[in-house]
């Protein structure tokens, strides 16, 4: 209850600040227009005009809210003007990419902690791979996959996986290495093989790390999908929606798409968080 109150208070503060920002940032344009039209504006006129522009620098909250409402609830979900439609396209690729990325991250991390050669050779390159600007190679990935006939969901999912595997890899390597000496020594005294040590000790110890990493990973996966949607011809999905909004300076539409993306991300992160709570509770690791 108190939590809801706290959240509402913060949201209220943000909305107030936002209105303030909208008035301030849009005022320049309104004033210029007024000078050009040679009219005097009263303060109330000025404010009301800054909050009702077609192409504002900062759209007012109610403008974004109305656009969001319009494109989420009043449109048929199969219509391409519905944000739900675009969000679903993006969500599919994100989930697939997140799945692939998490799996890849876990498998690589298992290899890295067990095979020295992999630890020494893969890790530096995994790091380097993340410094490659994804937006630069995304078109190439699309082109290459396109030329061998793969289109649609998969290329986007691959780009999304590329961004999400890294946090999972780093977190899992750390997690799998988190058991302390006594615990490892104990397994040694049982002459436990790598497999039992892994399943009985390393894996359970890594679970909290895995979930933390997955929270970052799922957000990254969404970013990856959106990036991947740009060079597929920017046809469908929230990424395409954002971009087309941007070509035509339709700030309000852009912000609405942005919020849809943020809701999606927050929802995904929350979902992982819930899975985390449930799992850790079952494992007796939260009290």
């Amino acid at each position: 209850m108190q939590k809801i109150f706290a959240v509402l208070t913060v949201i209220f503060a943000i909305v107030v600040l936002w209105y303030g920002a909208a008035v301030m940032m849009n005022a320049k344009w309104v004033k210029e227009q007024a000078v050009r039209a040679k009219v005097e504006l009263s303060t109330t006129q000025l404010i009301s005009q800054t909050l009702s522009q077609d192409r504002p620098v900062v759209p007012a909250p109610h403008q974004v809210g109305m656009e969001f409402w319009k494109s989420v609830f009043t449109k048929n979900v199969t219509s391409k003007r519905s944000l739900v439609f675009h969000a679903w396209i993006t969500l599919r690729a994100t989930l697939l990419g997140f799945f692939i990325g998490t799996l890849a991250g876990i498998i690589l991390s298992i290899g890295i902690i067990h095979i020295r050669a992999m630890d020494m050779s893969v890790m530096p390159w995994a790091i380097a791979s993340q410094t490659i600007p994804i937006l630069a190679i995304a078109p190439m990935i699309i082109v290459v996959l396109n030329s061998i006939g793969i289109q649609g969901l998969i290329p986007k999912a691959i780009i999304s996986a590329y961004l999400s595997f890294f946090p999972v890899l780093v977190g899992m390597v750390k997690g799998l290495r988190s058991p302390d000496h006594i615990q490892l020594d104990l397994m040694k005294t049982y002459h436990a093989d790598a497999k039992s040590t892994f399943f009985s000790l390393r894996l359970p110890s890594s679970v909290p790390y895995l979930f933390t990493a997955m929270k970052v990973g799922v957000a990254a996966a969404l970013v990856g999908t959106i990036v991947g949607e740009l060079p597929t011809g920017a046809i469908r999905g929230l990424g395409a929606r954002l971009l087309t909004g941007s070509y035509y300076g339709q700030t309000i539409q852009m912000w609405a798409a942005l919020f849809a993306a943020a809701f999606l991300a927050a929802g995904l992160v929350a979902l992982v968080g819930m899975a985390e709570k449930a799992t850790l509770k079952r494992m007796g690791m939260i009290r």
């Binding site: 040694k188 005294t189 436990a192 494992m283």
Partner: protein
Amino acid sequence: MHSDFHVVNAKDLCLTFETNDGPVHALKDVNLQIDKGDFVSFIGPSGCGKTTLLRAIAALEHPTSGELIVNGTTPDLAREDRAYGYVFQAAGLFPWRTIAGNIKLPLEIMGFAKSEQKERADKVLKLVDLEGFGNKFPWQLSGGMQQRASIARALAFDADLLLMDEPFGALDEIVRDHLNEQLLELWERTHKTIAFVTHSIPEAVYLSTKIVVMSPRPGRITDVIESTLPKERPLSIRDSQEFIDIAHRVREGLRFGHGDGAD
């Protein structure tokens, strides 16, 4: 009483740790034989290398020089044969497993049948007075109870050699007496060989066939006392003159080690 087969045989064993400010001689020129069926206690001031010696026997540390033979082979091979059960100084229970789950851990790893796992877990839980706590998580138990659980874990599979690093250090005297009796009984019944680290002179004297007194800086053996007490040991034996004499000798050995040390 001793067979001619040495379960543990250390010759001129040295073990040095390299630390950021110079080497620490945790063990220096240690010579020791433990025979089958022996109950050997290690006693000595803190930092004298008791834990290190036990760990070396368990192949968890590797000697810098000297020879160490366990079960007629190298410590490593002995470890791979699952020749011993080890009870650590700290409980080291896995927080994501219940107490029963922790006890079943070695059994799972060694491939016992599910039904037997449960049976054995129940048995050892009873042995350490933790009946009814099987489904609790470690952090729901007091430190002492945790340590008892870790003893149960090492008892669960029947290794011939038990290495115990101050297993009863955190327990109260009554439980300790109880467990001492039970341990002695177990030892007699099963002919296990036990290496046991303790800080308590009465405990060492009461339990052991052989008491190894150690001294720090560098860690070494200063005295090995073969106990003349009979195998049958009621608690009341602790009032006998023989007991008091042995305890006195251990105390003297310890004091000597201390005088020799830093203070």
